[in-house]
């Protein structure tokens, strides 16, 4: 595994900015009533999505969570398709049938966000099995949160993946909160990564606000998976700057935590490092932001001007073929 070169680092930087600006814009649009539903954004957690995606091939698979926009964007999903879906428009990537928590974009191997915690953990071994049988050399990453690590599918999915040596990488985004319940109040033993010991697989804990550390840790796990050595479990520690859902008053935590998160801003951190390395200057950073902002605005304009589905479109897409009346 080689360290990321300058181009790769700048791509990761732009990708984190893309996730951030998209999510900030989506929050704003939601607050103005442009986007229906319940919204969970990943502001502050961008380094996990981007560090993971950077370690993947375009044809690798990702299974995501209710907080999944960043995973899709980092994997290369179209901002237009995603934004139109968040708006519930007919030309959204799922024709308006999925929405924020139930988006898939098969064109980039993004097999689905999920409204149910840890559900991807048991889907992943099947994807791994299919990869193994097809001999395609792909891997699958399944994201989940610290809260999800206490659900049964986490155990069942890792057990099966380890038992059958499947090319799966389990990535826990530990943002300290299971909805409004603190990690310490929901998770026995404290460390999620340490649970890997019981399954006989590598378990690594990483600073989830350090995109290069995330990349390197995931790249090791991906290489292991791709070379037929089986799954790994990675726990990336991060901090969400926003509520569990948009509009969450966050009575359960003090302002210090968000302040800490902002202080450890993964984007500013990479920007500082790139600047020190003379790979980026202020003008260049500004150009990246401007260019990404234009992409986001293009997606917003696209979504705003796209048509809503017709009510009766609710009856399509259930089966490949279904001429029966019932």
């Amino acid at each position: 595994m080689s360290a990321p070169g300058p181009d790769a680092l700048l791509t990761m930087y732009a990708s984190m900015v893309r996730v951030r600006l998209f999510e900030e814009r989506v929050r704003e649009l939601f607050q103005h009533g442009r986007i229906p539903g319940f919204l969970h954004t990943s502001v502050g957690q961008e380094a996990v999505a981007v560090g993971v995606a950077a370690a993947l091939r375009p044809d690798d698979y990702v299974l995501s969570t209710h907080r999944g926009h960043g995973h899709l964007i980092a994997k290369g999903g179209s901002l237009r398709g995603l934004m139109a879906e968040l708006y519930g428009k007919a030309n959204g990537v799922c024709h308006g049938k999925g929405g924020t928590m139930h988006i898939a974009d098969a064109s980039v191997g993004y097999l689905g966000a999920n409204g149910v915690l840890a559900s991807g953990c048991v889907v992943a071994p099947g994807v791994g099995l299919s990869i193994k049988r097809r001999g395609s050399g792909q891997v699958v990453v399944t994201f989940f949160g610290d809260g999800a690590a206490n659900r049964g599918p986490f155990h069942e999915g890792i057990n099966l993946s380890a038992l059958w040596t499947l090319p799966v990488v389990f990535v826990c985004e530990n943002n300290r909160w299971a909805s409004s319940t603190a990690h310490a109040l929901s998770t026995a033993g404290g460390s999620i990564a340490a649970r890997a010991v019981g399954y006989g697989i590598p378990g690594e804990s990483v600073d989830g606000n350090d995109v290069m550390a995330v990349y390197e840790t995931v790249a090791r796990a991906v290489e292991r998976a791709r070379s037929g050595k089986g799954p790994s479990l990675i726990e990336a520690h991060t901090i969400r700057w926003v509520g569990h859902f948009e509009g969450d008053p966050q009575a359960y935590r003090g302002k210090e935590e968000v302040a800490e998160g902002r202080q450890r801003d993964p984007i500013a951190r990479l920007e500082r490092w790139l600047t020190e390395q003379r790979l980026l200057d202020a003008a260049q950073a500004q150009r990246v932001r401007a260019s990404v902002a234009a992409e986001v605005e293009d997606a917003v304009a696209h979504a705003e001007t796209s048509s809503l589905p017709r009510g009766e479109d609710a009856l399509s897409d259930l089966f490949a073929y279904y001429p029966w009346r019932d």
Binding site: A106, C121, V122, V123, V140, L160, D317, R325
Partner: protein, 322 residues
């Protein structure tokens, strides 16, 4: 040829696994063919890559089948006992049933869930339930419920070839029932009912084991001069509404016979379908045969009491011809 229901299913699996290398079987104890012999011997022909003995881990068995199905394989899951699907209900209800729809038709999900189910032999509360109604009530799933070896083979084959998830309910009381199965490879399409006995006086719509109980009831009633038509929808989703209505237009009287509990059942829905499609043809209110609304008890007299059988069908037919 003569095969029992379990052998017919085994034949279907072999035929489909030979035809399509993407097809694989997964479940608990399936290498030995436990508990009902359906997968027996598959390991010898197809090897451990395609006959996967899984840990007792229903969420992972069913969830992984979903992951495999949406990425290019064709899994056939053996649920061991249909009752255990509760341990994988998120995977069935939230993931498998909804994936095509929620994702706007992006992903095929060619997955078959074999559901050994039904009352009998003092299986008790966790090994005897007729849970087909749960899945009839879940949009996104197809539900087959064969009553004969030939239908079992033909429907399982069709299920495996379907690009969408199909549940095949296999009544465990039928596994050793022998019947004629075509020598030639034969598929039974989804959504096509089969009249198992012609009769002019009453239509009994029955599924799985209740088809045989209804045929027995028909034999007894024929001695009294009442000619019962027994129609088997064979699949509940999709449903051959036309065939049901056509039968009702001939007989004008209907009994719906099923094994699951009376309340909120598949049969309740079938009765409504008949009413919607053929109300003007009905000369009597529809009668229903189903289990009482209790869990399935263990002790033989208790189990026998709740298990619908020919006697109940006879009584229901007498009620509608009165």
């Amino acid at each position: 040829m003569k095969l029992d229901f379990g052998e017919a299913l085994n034949l279907a699996l072999r035929e489909e696994m030979r035809r399509d290398p993407r097809v694989y079987c997964i479940g608990e104890d399936i290498v030995l063919g436990l508990p009902f012999g359906v997968t027996k011997g598959l390991i010898d022909e197809f090897g451990s890559e395609r006959v996967l003995n899984a840990p007792i881990s229903e969420a992972a068995i069913v969830g992984s089948a979903f992951g495999a199905a949406v990425t290019g394989l064709v899994p056939v899951v053996d649920m061991h006992f249909a009752d255990f699907v509760t341990c994988a209900m998120d995977e069935v209800a939230n993931q498998i049933a909804k994936s095509r729809y929620m994702f706007g038709g992006q992903l095929d999900c060619p997955l078959t869930l074999r559901m050994p189910y039904g009352i009998g032999k003092s299986g008790g509360g966790h090994h005897s339930n007729s849970v087909e109604a749960w899945f009839v009530n879940l949009p996104g799933l197809k539900v087959a419920i064969p009553s004969t070896p030939a239908d079992a083979r033909g429907l399982l084959k069709t299920a495996i070839r379907d690009p969408d998830p199909v549940l095949v309910f296999e009544h465990r009381g039928l596994y050793r029932m022998v019947g004629d199965v075509p020598e030639a490879e034969t598929l039974v399409p989804l959504g096509v009912a089969d009249v198992k006995r012609r009769g002019r006086d009453v239509t009994v719509i029955a599924t799985a084991r209740m088809v045989h109980e209804s045929l027995e009831a028909a034999r007894r009633l024929a001695e009294e001069g009442i000619e019962v038509e027994v129609i088997d929808p064979r699949t509940l989703v999709p449903l051959d509404r036309e065939a049901l209505a056509a039968s009702v237009r001939r007989t004008h009287r209907v009994v719906v016979a099923e094994e699951g509990p009376m309340r909120g059942s598949a049969g309740a829905w079938l009765a409504w379908v008949v009413m919607e499609d053929a109300f003007d043809e009905l000369d009597a209110p529809i009668a229903r045969v189903a289990a009482p609304n209790v869990p399935i008890p263990f002790s033989p007299p208790l189990e026998s009491f709740v298990m619908p059988a020919a006697d109940e069908v006879v009584a229901a037919v007498r009620q509608v011809v009165k």
